[in-house]
Symmetry: C2
Subunit: 198 residues, 2 copies
């Protein structure tokens, strides 16, 4: 349940990078907050954010693929959350063209759309541009969650770029965590979480 | 605040392994639950567990050092949590001699007592014995949090033993995470979290 009594997506333990990202998000995103899903994909993160911010909050959702926009819109519609979400059929490198500060959370789910065109993947160049924009939008205590996949072509290159960026963030201003599943394949998705200090 | 309205230790963001451990604990330990602090140290984790389980819950606290027992008892006394905690002046390798299943959380803070005798450190042999016992006590959904320090003599050897154990846990039964701070020294403390699947 969220603070405003809406039922949120079922929780089945910390069984993967998405579950870990949702833990970090559920802890900081509150009713009335503002959040960004930089990569809507099938809309699951967008829906969680929409449920957490509640009817008084606001979520911006980005995706470059039409199929993702349609899937996300349908998911939001089914949960009655359409009005609090502004969907943008655009790449996340255009974040600050639509979103204004401060936001309490930004979510990135890198790689390709599950069930979609595996040739259409996020690119290091655009991802780094989006991260640079996203971190400037963050309110004190706000978090960026980045789920990384290294199994597809270009995935490792993108993960390396994100890791290098994250490792260079000033420790007094940002708490930066890498969370990996120890008893899974080294190619299993993992999470980088950046929290802006209070 | 805990669910039963008691004020818990202040939260200043995810600024270190202890803060991350507390996030994982706060999410699963509920009023009436049972938990173990396998290494009381100065008592901060014991106090958090005591506040989370509330007056109807139960916490067992272990430490081999008299100084740790005294510090922990004083901290609990000051917070009015003495009655719900059973302190054992004993090594954590004797966990199952006092604690009976199921428990919802077990906390390990390895290394030496801050401000205490730096020659008195947890040993890989005893730590591995305690982890083997702790994981058998765990209820479904329960979590073990292990804070690891590699900066003292023997610390790296102990961390390697714990990592090897954690990586070998069956993935269908346990969700096992390693959480490291990316923008800090490689010698910074880090966290291994083991969650028993539902």
């Amino acid at each position: 349940m969220t603070d405003n009594g809406e039922r949120i997506t079922g929780f089945d333990g910390l069984r993967g990078a998405t579950a870990m990202a949702h833990l970090f998000l559920r802890e900081v995103v509150r009713p009335g907050d503002r959040a960004v899903d930089a990569t809507c994909g099938n809309g699951h993160d967008t829906l969680l954010l929409a449920q957490l911010v509640g009817p008084e909050g606001k979520v911006w959702g980005f995706d470059i693929q039409e199929q993702a926009m349609v899937a996300t819109a349908a998911l939001l519609e089914g949960a009655g959350c359409t009005e609090r979400v502004e969907l943008r059929h655009a790449g996340h490198e255009r974040l600050t063209a639509s979103v204004f500060a401060p936001v309490d959370a930004v979510v990135f789910n890198l790689g390709y759309l599950p069930g979609g065109d595996k040739g259409c993947v996020t690119s290091p160049h655009n991802t780094m541009a989006a991260l640079s924009q996203g971190i400037k939008l963050l309110a004190p205590g706000g978090r960026i969650c980045i789920s990384l996949y290294t199994g597809h072509p270009g995935g490792m290159e993108e993960a390396t770029a994100v890791e290098s960026w994250a490792a260079g963030l000033p420790p007094k201003e940002f708490h930066v965590w890498s969370c990996r599943q120890m008893n899974r394949s080294p190619a299993a998705p993992y999470l980088i979480m950046v929290e802006k200090a209070h």
